[in-house]
């Protein structure tokens, strides 16, 4: 994986400052959604071989949650967005 990650708040930082939370492509269902919707959200993963969206937290820096677009086969990092900004952009 890229050794350096460009945090939108802190600039170029070493990858080791970040903690990886997991899949960011999932949308949290409404509290009243069906059991099946919640099951799929909590347990089912697309697990793509290629581009994926992930939640990372910059624990050694600004402590913001970020959305990182990354390739699971080449380990290339395509983009890093602030988590809240990403949610707004995508109407979440």
């Amino acid at each position: 994986m890229a050794s350096l990650i460009t945090c939108p708040h802190c600039g170029v930082r070493p990858k080791e400052e970040f903690a990886i939370r997991g899949d960011a492509s999932l949308l949290r269902p409404a509290p009243t959604a069906s059991d099946e919707a919640w099951h799929d959200y909590v347990y089912v993963r697309a697990n793509p071989r290629g581009r994926t969206l992930e939640h990372w937290q910059h624990v050694g820096g600004c402590r913001r949650f970020l959305v990182v677009e990354r390739d699971t086969f080449t380990h290339e990092v395509h983009s890093v967005t602030d988590g809240a900004a990403f949610a707004r952009e995508n109407g979440r």
Binding site: M1, V44, F73
Partner: protein
């Protein structure tokens, strides 16, 4: 050819020129009763037990690379059955028992070495947890011994007992556990399956699963269409990719796990030692190299290569446990793609498609499970019924609320 001391002498006298290949290079027929996707340990063991124990002879194993090129050749070769949960322990003990008879069963030297696996504890709380685990093992009829610090110092003198943060207070020992030669397991099962008429088809990648009227009729491969009565997936690492071809929704993430081996040393580490301050495990191979690994890197990956930061972390854990390791040089490292399930336990089950069967989610414990996984999967395929020891390892257990979460980490695969 049956292997024996006599066969070695006989072949030596003819200049070792008359050994036969251990399995045929089969070309696919147009139809099989059972097709197994994945020529790793689990797929080959499944084929072997299907043919030998359950009388299903018209079987083929499809492997996209060469045989044993996946995780069966990329692990740290540890076999053990020191689990706690009732959903896991009977299964892994069944596996341990099969390991103990495997060389005779296969007429193949898998170099099983029951040198004992010892898991260290570093705090009173961890000691209590290991006592509980040991008791749970005894409940399933598996011997476990708690080794106190003084006794352990005599057994394994070179550990860092007085580390300030992680002093070693003792360990939980399973004497019957140990290591086996990983490649030989794949080759032994391949040879055994081949002798029972199974076709092993290497360099044949499945590209699509063909379905008609809701059931699988066969697979498209790089060697053309192959029809089947039942399709069995044992493609750990790429389960999601193969499952996608049949629109399966799976509780799996693919993660990368690294392992390392050092230069050869004289015999020094007699057991498999597992560090409890992190999750570092080490043993010494028969060639003398120290084989070790730790946790997964923590991010999804299909790359079969890991990151240096994790390598550094693994070395740090090792040196914390055995300070003398700092003088040893690492020869090589490698990585494998693990099927991480949502509770850290595997899945051997039917799928929503009637004649499609699934074996996946081995996390980073698949090697030790190879014999039982093959046996239980073969049982499931042949009888369309779950084997009793695998009855908790179901695909729908998350929806039903019956996760088998040994680590208690919740649905967060990078923590298992």
């Amino acid at each position: 050819m049956r292997y024996s001391a006599f066969s070695i002498v006989k072949n030596a006298l003819s200049g070792n020129l008359k050994w036969k290949p251990q399995w045929r290079q089969a070309e696919p027929k147009s139809h099989y009763d059972v097709l197994i996707v994945g020529g790793g340990g689990h797929g080959l063991a499944t084929a072997y037990y299907l043919a030998k124990e359950f009388g299903v002879k018209n079987v083929a194993v499809l492997e996209k690379g060469y045989l044993g090129s996946g995780n069966v050749g990329r692990n740290t070769t540890i076999v053990r059955s020191n689990y706690m949960l009732p959903g896991n322990e009977p299964f892994y003990e069944f596996s341990m028992k099969l390991w103990e008879g495997l060389e005779r069963e296969l007429n193949y030297n898998v170099m099983l070495s029951q040198r004992g696996v010892i898991m260290l504890y570093h705090s009173d709380g961890q000691r209590d947890a290991y006592i509980r685990r040991g008791n749970a093992m005894w409940m399933e009829g598996v011997a476990a011994e708690l080794i106190e610090r003084d006794q352990l110092k005599k057994m394994i003198p070179f550990l860092n007992y007085d580390h300030a943060r992680y002093p070693i207070l003792g360990g939980l020992l399973q004497r019957r556990a140990g290591t086996a030669r990983h490649d030989a397991v794949a080759w032994g099962y391949a040879r055994g399956a081949d002798r029972h008429g199974v076709d092993i088809i290497e360099h044949c990648e499945v590209t699509a699963i063909r379905r008609e009227n809701g059931i699988v009729t066969g697979v498209e491969t790089t060697k053309g269409f192959i029809g089947c009565g039942k399709l069995a997936l044992a493609a750990a690492g790429n389960t999601s990719r193969v499952g996608e071809m049949a629109d399966l929704k799976l509780p799996i993430e693919s993660h990368v796990l690294q392992a390392f081996v050092t230069e050869g040393l004289k015999p020094c580490i007699d057991h498999v030692i597992v560090y409890g301050g992190g999750h570092f495990y080490i043993s010494q191979s028969d060639k003398g190299g120290l084989v070790f690994g730790a946790e997964i890197d923590g991010y999804t990956s299909y790359a079969q290569r890991g990151n240096l930061a994790t390598a550094e972390h693994v070395m740090e854990e090792g040196v914390t446990m055995i300070p003398g390791l700092s003088r040893v040089r690492v020869l090589r490292s490698w990585a494998g793609v693990m099927d991480m399930s949502m509770d850290g336990s595997p899945i051997i089950d039917r799928t929503p498609i009637d004649n499609l069967y699934l074996n996946c989610g081995w996390c980073y414990g698949g090697f030790k499970a190879t014999p039982a996984s093959g046996y239980c999967f073969a049982h499931l395929i042949a009888k369309n019924d779950t084997h009793p020891v695998a009855r908790f390892l179901r695909l729908d257990r998350f929806a039903r609320g019956y996760a088998v979460d040994e680590a208690g980490a919740g649905p967060q695969p990078n923590l298992h």
